[in-house]
């Protein structure tokens, strides 16, 4: 047992460098997310931890044991694949039992039953993957990986194949599951909302580099780079300063002292259900979007308004 350390990891593909010097520590028992757009190197990083790929340079350590050079079947790490990779000829029970049988575990049947209970799949235990719904496949894949009690569970975009409603429900279940089993989860995703809502810590990746590591609040409220700021949510950029639309206010009268104010013209106003989204143009040509709650007034296209925010909510990130 122990923390998972990546030390200065590099990986080249024939055409380009995919992972470009990554170092991070994933504390034991943590729900840790690697967040980034597709092609940022996050999946390759996961594959190197699982042992499917070897880094060209750098060390992967679990506690003080070096993982480099160990075959996937020799690592105390299991994976939930993006496509689930369930064995099509085996039932849910047999899929979950697969790893235990390879180890010759004497308690295979009771452990399998327990794992299926854990993911609430006991009633579907005899189904083949082809007869399962997306959610059931996902639960089977989770149970199959968890039943081996790995030191780290790797999850490669496990929710991306589900429909949006189920995705939100599985998100909650995943979080509860992690809290219950206490295993380190390394969650790979390109969905910032998923990462923000699930993780204890998030590492944001971009073009093979780490952009920032922090708690969800830290990286959302205090992004280290413009890329992080923009990837985690919408940003209004005014010179070297960024401010999020939900922190931006609009009023007809000038606000009180202390606020940062720009006079602008409303270019569009949309009702989004939970708020209004008002887009304005400044005389300098910047576009500033504000999301404002109901009851804070309605604005018409072409109207002259004051756009303002609290300087405390600014993200100072020179280009």
């Amino acid at each position: 047992m122990g923390d998972l350390h990546l030390e200065d990891i590099y990986k080249d593909f024939p055409s380009h460098r995919v992972v470009d010097g990554i170092s991070l520590t994933i504390p034991q028992g943590c729900f840790y997310s690697l967040l980034g757009p597709s092609g940022c190197g996050k999946t390759t990083t996961l594959r190197m931890i699982a042992g499917f790929d070897e880094p060209d340079r750098g060390l992967i350590k679990l506690g003080d044991r070096t993982m480099n050079g160990l075959r996937p079947y020799e690592r105390p790490v299991t994976t939930v694949f993006q496509s689930y990779a369930l064995f099509p000829h085996l039932t849910a029970t047999e899929n979950v039992a697969f790893g235990l049988k390879r180890k010759g575990d004497p308690d295979t049947s009771s452990k399998v039953k327990e794992a299926l209970d854990l993911v609430q799949l006991s009633t579907k235990a005899d189904r083949l993957p082809a007869k399962m719904s997306g959610g059931e496949r996902q639960r089977t894949a989770l149970a199959r990986a968890l039943v081996l009690q790995p030191e780290v569970l790797l999850l490669d975009e496990p929710l991306s194949a589900l429909d949006p409603k189920l995705r939100k429900q599985m998100r909650i279940e995943l979080k509860e599951l992690q809290a219950r089993v206490g295993i380190t989860f390394l969650f790979i995703t390109h969905d910032q909302e998923e990462a923000l809502s699930l993780s204890d810590r998030i590492a944001v990746m971009h073009k093979g580099h780490l952009e920032q590591i922090g708690t969800p609040q830290e990286i959302y409220l205090n992004p280290a780079t413009r890329f992080v700021a923009g990837f985690l949510g919408a940003v209004n950029w005014v010179g070297a300063v960024g401010v999020r639309p939900e922190m931006t206010r609009i009023s007809r009268e000038a606000p009180g002292d202390g606020a940062r104010v720009i006079e602008a013209t409303v270019s569009s106003a949309m009702f989004l259900g939970d708020c209004f989204q008002v887009e304005t143009k400044t005389p300098a040509g910047d576009s500033i979007v504000a999301q404002i709650a109901h009851g804070l007034g309605e604005f018409q296209r072409g109207e002259r308004v004051h756009v303002w925010w609290n300087p405390r909510d600014e993200m100072a990130l020179p280009q």
Binding site: Y73, F81, F87, P88, L148
Partner: protein, 276 residues
């Protein structure tokens, strides 16, 4: 629209009826008649050609045919599986390798079988080489026995085993092998518990595609077996040529066809009709 479709299908139907069903009917009729003195068939109608099939003499030939075809099928699959796996994992060279597998079809089977005779006979390439190297002092009896026939059949029908296995293995999701390794399976365990069960339908297809032509083979046993290890195909051929017993030859070939169809039916039932 319907009439146009019927019009275009007409040649195919006419072809099938005249040239497929026609000869079949003739064989059925022949098998129920009596042999003429110089070949051909004459009255009276009889079932005797079918009761003769129970003569142990023919039973032995039938049994031998099954054993030889079975052994050849097994040999083909054992050889074809690693080859198909290798081709399926060869990336851009797949097409080239598949074409190499098909290459023998560019020349006639007869010519290729003669080539095997040149390889296997007492003064052939293999024996000359072994004698020349002093490894043996007498030529090995490689030709004119059952072993030679099986080698020839395996050689002839190997591509029929490679292709269905290849198409199965090529479709095999690579992440399944990664999942197996991830869950603690060593490569041989992944092969045994994941690859083999998933490619079983391909293996059954390969078995059928090899077994059926092997069962009816007559050229290979005739040339490489030297007429000493007769298979049903040779028996049928004999009835139509030297024995001049067309009715019995017809009964034999219909029986062979019935056996093959029964086997196919049993296999197709098992795979829910999705085998081929």
């Amino acid at each position: 629209m319907m009439r146009l479709r019927a019009l275009f299908l007409l040649p195919a139907w006419a072809f099938a009826l005249l040239l497929f069903l026609g000869p079949m009917l003739i064989i059925v009729v022949y098998s129920l008649q009596t042999k003429g003195v110089y070949g051909g068939v004459v009255e009276p109608w009889t079932l005797e050609n079918y009761t003769r099939l129970f003569d142990p003499l023919y039973g032995v030939i039938l049994l031998r045919s099954f054993i030889m075809a079975g052994a050849s099928t097994l040999g083909c699959i054992v050889l074809a599986f690693p080859l198909a796996l290798y081709i399926a994992r060869s990336g851009t060279r797949k097409t080239l390798l598949l074409n190499l597998v098909m290459l023998p079809f560019w020349t006639s089977f007869l010519v290729r079988t003669y080539a095997w005779m040149f390889l296997l006979r007492d003064t052939g390439l293999i024996n000359s080489a072994l004698l020349g190297l002093g490894i043996i002092s007498e030529p090995l009896p490689l030709l004119y026995n059952e072993g030679a026939v099986i080698v020839g059949l395996i050689y002839g029908y190997l591509p029929f085993a490679v292709l269905p296995l290849y198409s199965n293995l090529e479709r095999l999701d690579k992440s399944l092998l990664e999942a197996a390794a991830d869950l603690g399976a060593k490569p041989w365990e992944a092969m045994l518990h994941v690859v083999l069960p998933i490619t079983a339908p391909g293996m059954r297809a390969a078995a059928v595609l090899v077994f059926i032509p092997c069962l009816g083979a007559y050229l290979t046993p005739d040339l490489l077996g030297g007429g000493k290890s007769m298979m049903i195909g040779n028996l049928v051929q004999n009835q139509f040529t030297s024995a001049r017993d067309w009715p019995f030859g017809s009964a034999l070939s219909l029986t062979l066809m019935a056996i093959v169809m029964l086997l196919l039916w049993a296999l197709l039932r098992r795979d829910g009709g999705e085998m081929l």
